[in-house]
Symmetry: C2
Subunit: 147 residues, 2 copies
DNA sequence: ATAAACCTTTGAGTTAAGTCACAGGTCAAG
DNA sequence: CTTGACCTGTGACTTAACTCAAAGGTTTAT
């Protein structure tokens, strides 16, 4: 069991952020001490790490909350609804993966091209690297969500 | 050449966002009409799409600005500096890729497990799906940047 | 027994990334 | 020749995601 300060420190975030996540339904400590101290379990820590990772790859807290809430109502077995959500997120993730893979290819190309040769300077922009990406992924109806 | 409204519409963003990006050094139209209208080229559009994609995978505008500024000073051939930056970003991207791949695996597992069988309900949480991920990627010194 | 860590509530402040609204003026298309 | 799209500048507003502060009180560690 971690106390708030311990967990925060371990995950390099602010105590207030944990309280904030709690207030916003992302993560509640699974226990409280007799004196009312928040007590986070190992599992809570994993949830937190999940949240932080998800944030890192561009999910908003709202989306993360949604992901975390994916839990079949075991009584009702409302699986179909869940599957829909999951599949939507899966698409999202796959799109992000595709984008990132392009980035990776381009950056690699840049890195290789850069200091390797002498004539390198000609092709030292991500954009140029991206442009020369012949295996370009094009999404016909790619949409960006509004901020 | 696109006028501001045309480009904005094409990329489903606000005119003001384009002006905002310009003011913040992310994208300036490569031309102006005699009357002062912003005129965006095809290349400008590509830059914009790059920006939007990069945002989508969790890069901040500051990071994107940095990525866009990766351009060897062709006179000075300051390649070494560039390579350093590129390699740092590459690490970043690879970390994100690893995270996303985990997400993907988990979500797939969820999707498959969900409506497939009757005993499915037992394993219907991303966290459970993540936990059962035996090929887990663990980063010893994984750090998250402060917001 | 005292300092550091925690609690609650309330509320204000911050940063990033926009978005909206004037005001006053120019430009372009039907 | 008027309407809609654009220009500049200024500044206020918004949302997300924190972050800090203050006030008053309890708990834990040394």
């Amino acid at each position: 069991m971690y106390r708030i300060g311990e967990l925060a420190k371990a995950c390099k975030i602010n105590n207030d952020t944990l309280r904030f996540y709690e207030k916003n339904g992302l993560l509640s400590p699974s226990n409280r001490s007799d004196s009312g101290y928040r007590l986070y379990s190992e599992k809570d820590k994993e949830i937190l790490q999940f949240i932080l990772r998800a944030k890192g790859v561009g999910f908003s807290l709202a989306e993360i909350r949604e992901l975390l809430s994916i839990e079949v109502d075991k009584a009702n077995n409302a699986c179909a609804d869940v599957k829909e959500l999951v599949d939507a997120k899966l698409l999202d993730v796959e799109q992000k993966l595709a984008e990132l893979t392009r980035f990776q290819t381009s950056l690699k190309r840049l890195s290789d091209a850069c200091c390797g040769g002498e004539k390198s300077a000609e092709h030292c922009t991500i954009l140029e690297a991206l442009e020369s990406d012949t295996s370009q992924i094009r999404h016909e109806h790619h949409h960006y969500k509004a901020h």
